[in-house]
Amino acid sequence: MKDMTHEGGLHSAAHMYASEYAEGKLSRREFLTRTTALGVSAAAAYGLIGLPAPAQAQEAKTGGMIRVAMEVKGTKDPRLADWPQIANIYRGWLEYLIQYNNDGSFEGRLLESWEANADATQYTLKIRPGVTWNNGEPFTADDVVRNFGRWTDGNVEGNAMASRFPGLVDEATKTMREGAVVKVDDTTVQLNLTASDIAVVPNLADYPAAVVHSTFKDGEDPSTNPIGTGPYVPQEVAVGQKAVLVRAPNHTWWGGTAPLDEIHYIDFGTDPAAMVALFSSDEVDRNYESVGEFIDILDGMGLVKEELVTASTIVVRTNSTSDLYKDKAVRSAIQLAVDPKVVLELGYNNLGKTGENHHMFPIHPEYPTLPPQVINPAGLVPALEAAGLKDTEFEVISLDDGWEAATTAAVQAQLKDAGMNIKHTVMPGSTFWNDWQKYPFSSTTWNHRPLAVQNMSLAYTSTGSWNETGMANPEFDALMAQALALADADARRELAAKMGTILQEEGYIINPFSRSLFSHHKEGFLGLEMHPAFEHHHYKWSIA
């Protein structure tokens, strides 16, 4: 992914967003997220909509500490880490080649830049100069090559990274292929993949991909010998109780000075009711996540709410292997009879953002802006009559719990109002997931993935392993094959627009909303934004 600012001016889409902001279609926050994701600086973005950039965007105050309520799990070899909470502690001293930011963009950390070739089979990684480990040694290309060796080692039980780089692995030995990761010079490393792979960048930013020092022993707890490149070191990691990060002594961090002196993670358990008590008695400054009705309660206590619209979503989809839904006109009519706004309100209490029936969201780097669909419940009955299905009884299936059931019920209610004879069947998870891909009409939850094409290739290509719609559109497949070889998000966006349009027109999916993540903190702190993968970027935190 090359530098995204365009020579001699701002990204053209930035102007488009600015006019949308002026028309009131975008919130200020969303406007900023989108334009800065295009590489426009925050100050320039504020300028576009005629506002002065807030002073806080400049220099953060140094000093102070924060108390964060989070489960303190034992730290372990990063590639084995299976909870974001584990990574949030070693993030203090272990850094990443690339970082996934909460606006959906990727930022080089230990890498200064990277570039992929035209079909994403070769990556050139440029190492950031001047990075040192906290024991004084310089960070070099050898460190990068060695870490790739650790990540690609499939012989280590539970190595979360092993399956991420199929293009770098030797099938026979399940370790790094000879010549796959090459040190070109002291600051350059080249990845030679056997097949196109645009997920290399998001994979390098995922929480098990922390970069460790050469003295790190496989399987060791990283807090016992905390050599890293980051600004902090662990003073104490008491599992189940607390973890304290303090400034690394005698270490010049390449990023300058991280504002906070100390970061305390305190394990108060996971009961959200206890969190209310802890905030009210001033025992914590920030929680890990706020859920359900507690969001309102914490709002009411005068705390600052952080909301992040993710790409975690629910898809209520038809399946064309069923005779009822093989007619595209019927599918489209069903899709357009459902108003996403109503579903979001009834199904998820407005704790998210409406979707556009193409399974892509603004947080995705290749998110295209498509013309809005016209919701038309009146079109459903004529379409059903034309297909001879007017008197058929339809059924929509969902999981039996919580918001999945409520969302599906909201969809069913709208279809019923539009004149369709449809019932809602709920199933417990134990039976639901056995056949989730085969139901004629049902709802499925999808997790957040950094790139839109990651979800779409799994779900909507004819060969996708999680294809639950029966969709087999040759044009879509061809576009996806192209998109999966394009590492540049801007180039991919055009293809994404075409694919999004096809998905909307095929009418298989009702994708009513994406869910938001929330957290709360006391007034007086900056930079505590929520992250789609619950990552804590400590160096962004400061006292106001």
Partner: protein, 362 residues
């Protein structure tokens, strides 16, 4: 008496061995080992990877052999992987395998390594026991005087209004389990929305805090204050107060009907002196045993209360050890439980001798 104590200590040892073996056997059942592999390795491991992990981390082979390793009578396991790195029971990752001792178990004074806390069991359990010690001390300081006072007061004049009132209170408090009284106390005193805290806050009586007490005792691990410690202590103490008060009352009423009390009364000794000088000491024998028996009971009381109030002591450790299948930690917890139960009984037996000269230990 020496012989008696020695015999008791022998029983304690046997009980500990029997109990730890049962715990060891149960925690080493295959599903529990798989769970351990998934928490220690990674939740994403495949079935085969889990089996490999179990084999490569010393959890395969005969259960007696592994129990022997824990005791220190069988050499500790070692495993050398395909890269030539060796790991084993008796040394940490990266340490020299050759220099490590062959045996490292209880007999060598090594309690093993806690997989949950990621540090030696002896260190982590020591800390937790100290935390629970403070909790128990506070509970005892509240519970014993209060309950004895209430018991004596109601037993002094059986059937009086005071007796009826206090008895009702004791029965009610002892009939309420901790997980009920704890939640009720939190709702009454420690939430900003219900109970009496909003009222007090409105009058500005508890500024700058928003609640009368804190519903979490986590901060008491570092600094015990009345504010963060009162509720957990009261929750445990309430249950015990009722129970001990009932026992004291029964014993007191019995003593008060004795001939020598009547004689003293008839001789014109003031009621106060009769109670304090003649009745009290005899009436306290039975409650003394009950109080000593409260220690083992406290151990399981703290399991609930420490989890409820997130106080990281012995009870909380036991819950974490069990839910993470931390084998060495669970074994050590069992040993602690055995020692506490049998030691308090021993003390109560010896204490008896001093309170009641008619009893002799042989």
């Amino acid at each position: 008496m020496g012989k008696f104590v020695l015999r008791r200590l022998g029983v304690m040892l046997l009980t500990a061995i029997a109990l730890t073996f049962v715990v060891f056997y149960l925690t080493n059942l295959p599903p529990n080992l798989e769970k351990l592999a998934r928490t220690e390795g990674s939740v994403r491991m495949s079935e085969e990877a889990v089996q490999d992990w179990i084999e490569q981390n010393g959890h395969s082979g005969s259960v007696f052999g592994r129990y022997g390793q824990w005791l220190g009578v069988v050499p500790g396991w070692t495993y050398t992987d395909e890269k030539g790195d060796t790991r084993g029971r008796c040394f940490a990752i990266g340490q020299d395998a050759a220099a490590a001792p062959t045996y490292c178990g209880l007999l060598q004074g090594d309690w093993g390594y806690s997989t949950f806390f990621k540090k030696p069991v002896a260190d982590s359990l020591g800390e937790k026991l100290a935390a629970t010690g403070w909790l128990m001390l506070a509970v005892m300081l509240v519970m014993v005087p209060t309950s004895l006072f209430l018991g004596v007061l109601s037993g002094m004049r059986e059937g009086s209004a005071t007796d009826r009132t206090l008895s009702t209170f004791s029965i009610a408090s002892t009939a309420t389990p901790e997980y009920v009284s704890g939640v009720v106390l939190v709702a009454l005193f420690a939430t900003a929305a219900t109970g009496i805290s909003p009222l007090l806050a409105e009058y500005g009586l508890i500024e700058p805090k928003k609640t009368l007490f804190l519903a979490s005792a986590t901060s008491a691990m570092e600094d015990i204050t009345f504010w963060n410690f009162a509720l957990p202590v009261m929750t445990i103490a309430l249950y015990g107060i009722g129970y001990i008060a009932r026992m004291t009352r029964a014993s007191m009423t019995e003593v008060m009907t004795q001939q020598y009390i009547r004689t003293a009364r008839l001789k014109g000794v003031p009621f106060r002196t009769v109670v304090m000088k003649h009745a009290l000491r005899n009436a306290l024998i039975a409650p003394f045993t009950v109080i000593m028996l409260q220690f083992p009971w406290l151990l399981n009381g703290v399991v609930i209360v420490e989890s409820l109030f997130n106080y990281k002591g012995f009870g909380w450790t036991l819950v974490q050890a069990a839910s993470n299948n931390d084998i060495p930690l669970l074994l050590a917890c069992s040993c602690v439980a055995v020692v506490v139960v049998l030691l308090t009984q021993l003390i109560s037996d010896i204490g008896y001798v001093f309170l009641n000269p008619r009893i002799r230990l042989a």
